[in-house]
Amino acid sequence: MATLSPSVTIHDPLTGRGGRGGDPPTIHGGGNNNGGSGSPDFFRRLRRARVGFFILAVWVSMLFISFTSAYVVRKDLPSLNQITNQLGKDWIPVDLPVAMLLVNTALLLGSSVTMELARRKVAQQMALAPVGAIPGIAIGREKTNLWLGVTAALGAIFIVGQWLVWQELKNRGFYVASNPSSSFLYVLTATHAIHLMGGIVALIYAVSASLLRKSIESRRIVIEIASWYWHFMAALWIYVFALLAFVR
């Protein structure tokens, strides 16, 4: 892109209000895609990526629904005490380091905000891209998107924070195999952390996409999906935290 061609297609001005625009205006059943302009193709690609994201979200949700149901069932399950030979509950509620977890939560929610800023930034860049393509007009080197890096860094700090929480739990005597409650805690938090790492990888890909001179449209799609995934991870963390804090 960004050729010296004088004929420039102005994209639909959907991003005038700080990047709120993003929904495809109409849904075409197919067909008219040989216009040469990237715009209708862009919206189709974006919509396709979003459908894919929702399907991924359903799958991840099933994973956590499954853990949750196992958690809830196991919590109230009586088990045989081998010393007294009587049935009783063996579930010991985990002594959660709540303050640390709240700090981590704040970090992740903060990263969700910076992710949204990154998303708006790329939408703005895309709206300005045709202007920048006009010879003689310089609107600055708008290739970089600093918020992406900030978001990834906050995500990484969150994971370090979770690791510190696990260290603290170890100090309090809750190992993975100590009690079903701690087993589930480690499973839930670790599974969430692994999924968040996937989000960080997506962000690194988004940063490299801008370095690799991918088209602004491809970058926008990557960042859109990465941001939805990131918000989903934040919501999922709130859910996991609430489950661990209130269902004990």
Binding site: G30, R48, I55, S79, L80, Y175, A177
Partner: protein, 590 residues
């Protein structure tokens, strides 16, 4: 550049990009198909070894040696796992679905071609890991394809439960990821890439069945992965999700790996619930049964209509029946667990739900028969297989309501009656769907016709062989011959069943040999078969409008426009006895 935008990638040039790491859904479909074909022969070989061991337990097998009891349960496990995951889940969905779903809805490719390629290669890695379980110390796992805890959760429980069982779980986990990528592609493609005019209610029933199958896979495999993670932790980290306390195997107490370590508060497994595994597993496992059979139903519907030269009877009812089966499939998992001591009220509700599946199944069956009724049937090989599918579906389905009732399931549970039931309805019926698909789509996939005569002989012999194997098993089950036991010949009360078991073993060996007719036909036709025309069966769906085999972007740069439903055969007033979906609207469409 237009082609780039239209389907995301241009036609590849080099051998590796074209045939190995291809992004083309057609190549990926064929890759899946051959993966399943190799898996099915491994699975079949294992089943023959099982049958031989059942009647001649002391026989020494060439290149294999003696079959010890633990070897026998290993064969049972690997036969079930390979067949369910790498054949029944892989071929109908990954193989035919990948190849024909985009073409049938008029798309140039799948929605996410890279993900599609990754999905296949992940499945391939998963299959390799699964096969590796044969070659580690202790051999493949002994816990059956259902992997019931605590046997599967304690490495010291049995010879195969060491590294072999770990590999088994890891393989299944990798398969779950592959299935996610597949489902993501299938659902997005159907929702987003349909050609102009291809409304949901104009999709061929094959597409509907692949769609619902993908949704089932999406909802089910995440649960299986979670269960697998918990099982791996139980085995290797010493958690107690599935292992109860005080458990002893062969006189030894089950302890976490690493022995009685002081770093854990509890020194032995304690308080885990084996039933939790069963719930998680069967929440996946029952939808998995429909994942295996639904694509076969789609293929059968497609073929019955095509070769009966009649519109499918009750298209909408067929669509809603597929949906109904899909929804009900998620609320019946308890019928696998009637023996687990569940409350009779719970068992009753699971039982009612299970029998409710009979309603959409019967709708499908009667609509198939309604399609055949008073039609001019062309009895070509694909049609023979489609009719065979209906036959097996009915025969296997009729024993379903017996097992769905707790009162009858309690004596029949874990007897040969159960394998008889599910092999007919889920195993061989789905295989018949695959054979039907192979004979039907082979001309389109490889550009040559398969041999009709060999196909007919193969079909008739396979059908007879299948019934000869599995019908007597119902009687064996009612005579209380247990499943999964090694060395029946040692049990007094089973002595009188030995002749029938021998008959089944002979039938199984012959039926396996008959399959080589198919292999010969397949590979001979691949190179020497007569050239196929673009539409050899005079069918209506979009794959028959394009060249044979289809070009890289399926329709040679054109985008099809759909004007008709998928099954417009013998339309009154039409010039031919079939109206292609892309034909212009000249005749009065209904």
């Amino acid at each position: 550049m237009v082609a780039q935008e239209a389907h995301g990638h241009g036609a590849p040039q080099g051998f590796i990009r074209k045939y190995i790491f291809s992004l083309d859904h057609k190549v990926i479909g064929i890759q899946y198909y051959f993966l399943a074909l190799s898996a099915v022969f491994v699975g079949m070989l294992l089943s023959v070894l099982m049958r031989i061991h059942m009647v001649w337990p002391t026989a020494t097998i060439p290149f294999f040696g003696d079959i010890k009891p633990e070897t026998y349960v290993m064969l049972v496990t690997m036969h079930g796992t390979i067949m369910v995951f790498f054949v029944l889940t892989t071929a109908p969905q990954g193989g035919f679905g990948n190849y024909f779903l985009p073409i049938q809805i008029g798309a140039p490719d799948m929605a996410f071609p890279v993900l599609n390629m990754l999905s296949f290669w992940t499945t391939f890695v998963s299959f390799m890991v699964m096969l590796a379980a044969f070659f580690v110390t202790g051999g493949a796992p002994n816990h059956g394809w259902t992997g019931y805890a605590p046997l599967s959760a304690v490495p010291s429980a049995a010879p195969g439960e060491g590294l072999g069982a770990d590999l088994w779980i890891i393989s299944i986990a990798i398969f779950c990821l592959a299935s996610l990528m597949g489902a993501l592609n299938f659902i997005t493609t159907i929702l987003d890439l349909r050609a102009k005019g291809m409304t949901l209610m104009r999709m061929p029933l094959t597409c509907w069945s692949w769609f619902i199958t993908a949704i089932l896979g999406l909802l089910a495999f995440g649960v299986l992965l979670s269960a697998g993670i918990l099982l791996l932790l139980d085995r290797n980290v010493g958690t107690s999700f599935f292992v109860p306390g005080g458990l002893s195997f062969t006189g030894r107490l089950a302890v976490p790996p690493g022995g009685l370590s002081s770093s854990t508060t509890l020194i032995t497994h304690n308080g885990g619930s084996p039933l939790l595994w069963q719930h998680l597993f069967w929440f996946f496992g029952h939808p998995e049964v429909y994942i295996a059979i639904l694509p076969g139903m789609g293929v059968a519907s497609q073929l019955l209509s095509t070769f009966a030269r009649k519109p499918i009877f009750g298209y909408k009812a067929m669509v809603y029946a597929i949906m109904g089966i899909g929804v009900l499939g998620f609320v019946v998992w308890g019928h696998h667990m009637f023996m687990s001591g569940m409350s009779p009220y719970t068992a009753f509700s699971f039982s009612i739900m299970t029998m409710a599946i009979g309603v959409p199944s019967a709708i499908k069956t009667f609509n198939w028969l309604g399609t055949l009724y008073k039609s001019r049937i062309r009895l070509q090989t694909p049609m023979l297989y489609a009719i065979g599918f209906v036959s097996l579906f009915v025969s296997g389905g009729l024993s379903g309501p017996f097992l769905a009732q707790p009162v009858l399931d309690i004596p029949l549970h874990d007897t040969a009656f159960v394998p008889a039931h599910f092999h007919l309805i889920m195993g061989v019926a789905a295989i018949f769907g695959m054979f039907a698909g192979t004979y039907y789509w082979f001309p389109k996939m490889f550009g040559r016709m398969m041999n009709e005569r060999l196909g007919q002989i193969h079909c008739i012999l396979t059908l007879i062989g299948t019934y000869a194997i599995f019908m007597p098993m119902h009687w064996l089950g009612m005579a209380a011959q247990p499943r999964r036991y090694s060395q029946f010949t040692e049990l007094q009360y089973l002595q009188k069943l030995l002749p029938m078991n021998e008959f089944i073993t002979y039938a199984a060996i012959i039926t396996v040999l008959v399959q080589f007719i198919f292999v010969i036909n397949f590979f001979w036709s691949l190179f020497k078969g007569p050239k196929a025309s673009d539409n050899p069966w005079e069918a209506t769906t979009l794959e028959w409008t394009t060249a044979t085999p289809p070009p890289h972007d399926n329709f040679g740069g054109k985008t099809p426009v759909v004007n008709h439903g998928p099954y417009e055969y013998s339309v009154p007033g039409a010039p031919k006895d079939y109206v292609m979906q892309t034909d212009p609207v000249t005749v009065a469409a209904h």
